[in-house]
């Protein structure tokens, strides 16, 4: 099987089959990650560039290690230390990178749709590492990978995503991806942080955390930003934690074997209490490992596309 597009811009555009294909490849990659010698020749001769217009520790490192474990040459461009700071446009920066022989450009950008614009203007494959409030597809892929590891399948699982849905690209990618994989997604969060007409995507929207948690198989907390208070969307973090924070008592509403995920970094005591974070049902640390595996699988699949057929 070959991925249809040269790019991964969002899970909105993938089929269930393509998602499954990436996740099953990630399984193999996880074995490699667990071995003593973490090196494969899959990406030898390939050039992978991370182009980050926003700060990031884990996503960027995760992509870089994935690329290096597979023997590719990898390089970073960050917005602050480059001609981007001198006002060069995204397209011009990307064309420069493209002309230096990049095979894959991994873009994180504060504006939704930036990777789509990039993909139209370069030959290299483009991976969206987070665009504005739109999508963060590799995060959702690693979330789904983690869930499948624990629950075998997403089919008919009840997933509750709690928090600032409006500003969350993680939530959007998970909604697209999980729905395609047959999960039943519920979301809960303050009404001011809920995107309009979200229920039209097939998601159940609740205004209390309790309703969303009932019988959930998977509970995902999202990071709450402090600045939401300043823009009048919330009275404050304390009140948020009181009404939407996930603690042990609320977690009892979910199924007994429900697992807890969070894209990190966690604000302990806000989205999740420390006892929920450190509970044995929480797989937040394992998500990080799985992130590398999923990104290795993705880089592998996107760079071997041209070996088979080019259908894009």
């Amino acid at each position: 099987m070959v991925l249809k597009s040269k790019n991964l811009l969002g899970l909105k555009d993938l089929t269930a089959g393509e998602i499954e294909h990436i996740l099953s490849n990630a399984k193999t990659m996880k074995l490699i990650l667990g071995s003593k010698n973490k090196k494969t020749p899959h990406l030898q001769g390939k050039s992978i560039i991370t182009l980050f217009y926003e700060n990031s520790t884990r996503t960027r490192l995760s992509f870089e290690l994935a690329a290096k474990y597979m023997s590719s040459s990898a390089a970073n461009v960050s917005a602050s230390g480059s001609s981007v700071a001198k006002g060069e446009s995204l397209i011009d920066t990307a064309k420069t990178i493209n002309m230096m022989g990049a095979d894959v450009i991994i873009l994180r950008h504060p504006m939704s749709g930036a990777p789509h614009l990039l993909a139209k203007n370069v030959d290299a494959s483009v991976i969206n590492a987070g665009d504005g409030i739109n999508e963060h597809p590799t995060q959702a892929l690693l979330d789904m990978f983690t869930i499948i590891e624990k629950k075998e399948s997403l089919k008919d699982l009840k997933v509750a995503i709690i928090g600032d849905i409006y500003h969350s690209r993680v939530a959007r990618s998970n909604i697209w991806g999980m729905s395609k994989m047959g999960a039943k997604v519920s979301v809960a969060g303050p009404t001011t942080l809920m995107p309009p007409e979200l229920e039209k995507t097939g998601v159940k929207v609740f205004n209390t955390v309790q309703e969303a948690l009932i019988d959930a198989d998977v509970v995902m907390g999202l990071r709450m930003q402090n600045e939401r208070q300043k823009s009048g969307l919330l009275p404050g973090i304390r009140e948020y934690a009181r009404f939407f924070g996930l603690d042990e008592k609320r977690m009892k509403l979910a199924k007994k074997d429900a697992i807890v995920l969070h894209p990190g970094p966690v604000n302990r005591g806000v989205e999740l209490t420390t006892s929920v974070v450190d509970n044995d049902k929480s797989f937040i640390d394992e998500q990080v490992t799985n992130g590398v595996a999923v990104r290795m699988a993705l880089l592998y699949l996107l760079t071997r596309r041209d070996i088979n057929e080019n259908t894009d």
Binding site: I91, H109, S112, G113, A114, D131, N134, E135, R172, K200
Partner: protein
């Protein structure tokens, strides 16, 4: 110099004409209308099978000159207007410098005269520098030739200044055109707020951002008894607010633009920046509300809001892409295809909304083919289909979401003051 327009089907509301006849033009004016007119020498325009309209008047466009000539200038803008079938256009003051004083008004009028294409009427700004703080020199703007006042592109946020602008401008009998947008609601929004913004992950501009200010200006107009014209109406509730105000006797008029009765926010799919406009493209319900408003007369005018931009301002991230659509060369065919052909408007209503009413709003004395009037004439084959190709636009602005659309209504001839600008679809 004489021109005979032969065998065209004339549509004129003022004369209540809707039939085949000839028109004779002498010295830039219409001298005779009738069947089988005698003609000895001069140009003949054969209009058989085509409709002959009073020249179309655009009450709202951006010519970008002075200051943004890389987007458009008076030469390219007036050529684009002529190619699109317009004979008179009123240009908005968000130039650089802003049209907030008489010298800029005169610059535009003089440059347009040199180009000698369509008639150009500058609109002065309400506030100095479009800053919304102090009134422009409204009296001098009017006497220099400004035909209306507007801070278009941005709202007059300060309600008190809007009230004062209405009161002050009434002394000079010059209309205020209001760009209605409550910025605190629009915030960082870049498209209509709703399902489409949710699935694209773009921040939304809620419809009330427009509607609240429409309501404010209606209330101020009723209170001051000074007319106000609402620019580019895009939502169903805005239409209803205006409908209600008109019933109350408020002297409010309004316009919409082709993109608001043809497209919805779905056009923004895949982050298509050509569909980014302000106000944003709305929903199907709004499109239906706009069409209803056009049908029942609530919406007086169809304007282009021709907003040409350089490709570099559109080939960027959606958030930072410029707002606006290059509209001169698609507006009339869009109105024919999406309003006249489906039976929403008659050709006479089209003439009201694109010839008479804009002329009336701006006090131009245009919009009719009556004997003695200036020979501004647009001749269209309303059944001929063509494919929109932005590369053929005379405008510098190729920014159109209608590229590739198949439309009805080919502009065959555009005549301004008795001078043929477009002949057999070719811009001369």
């Amino acid at each position: 110099m004489k021109i005979l327009i032969k065998d065209g089907h004339i549509v004129d509301v003022r004369m209540n004409l809707d039939k085949k006849a000839d028109i004779l033009i002498e010295d830039g004016k219409i001298s005779e209308i009738g069947e089988n007119l005698e003609f000895s020498s001069g140009d003949i325009v054969y209009a058989e099978g085509k409709y002959v309209f009073p020249g179309f008047v655009d009450a709202h466009c951006h010519l970008r000159d002075p200051g943004y000539e890389y987007k458009e200038d008076i030469e390219s803008g007036t050529r684009s207007a002529a190619a699109g079938g317009f004979t008179s256009v009123a240009c908005m003051p968000n130039t650089n410098p802003v049209i907030d004083n008489q010298s800029i008004v005169k610059y535009i009028i003089n440059k347009a005269k040199q180009e000698d294409m369509v008639n150009v009427y500058p609109i002065g700004s309400i506030s100095k520098g479009l800053e919304g703080k102090e009134l422009s020199e409204i009296g001098e703007l009017k006497f220099a030739g400004a035909v209306a006042l507007s801070d278009d592109g941005r709202p007059l946020e300060n309600a008190s200044l809007m009230k004062k602008a209405m009161e002050y401008s009434s002394m000079f009998d010059i209309t205020i055109i209001s760009h209605c947008e409550e910025l605190s609601l629009a915030e960082e929004g870049v498209m209509n707020e709703g399902y489409q913004s949710t699935i694209l992950g773009l921040k939304g501009i809620p419809a009330p951002s427009e509607e609240i200010m429409v309501a404010r200006d209606i209330i101020l107009s009723e209170y001051t008894k000074v007319p106000v014209h609402i620019a580019h109406v895009s939502t169903e509730l805005s239409v209803d607010l205006i409908r209600h105000a008109k019933k109350r006797g408020v002297k409010v008029t309004c316009e919409t633009c082709p993109h608001y009765f043809v497209l919805t926010d779905e056009a923004c799919s895949d982050f298509n920046t050509f569909a980014k406009a302000n106000p944003p493209l709305r929903t199907k319900k709004d499109v239906n509300g706009i069409i209803e408003g056009l049908k029942d007369g609530t919406i007086d005018i169809i304007a282009t809001d021709h907003a040409p931009h350089h490709i570099d301002e559109k080939n960027v991230e959606f958030n930072v892409a410029a707002n606006g659509i290059s509209g001169f060369e698609t507006a009339i065919p869009l109105a024919i295809t999406y309003l006249v052909k489906p039976g929403h408007l008659t050709l006479k209503q089209l003439v009201e909304k694109m010839c008479i009413n804009p002329s009336k709003l701006l006090g131009l004395g245009k919009g009719t083919l009556e004997v003695g009037s200036y020979a501004d004439i647009t001749i269209i084959d309303i059944d001929e289909e063509f494919l929109v190709d932005v590369q053929n636009f005379k405008s510098k602005g190729k920014n159109s979401p209608f590229n590739g659309f198949k439309l009805k209504g080919s502009i065959y001839h555009t005549i301004v003051n008795g001078k043929i600008l477009v002949k057999e679809k070719i811009l001369l």
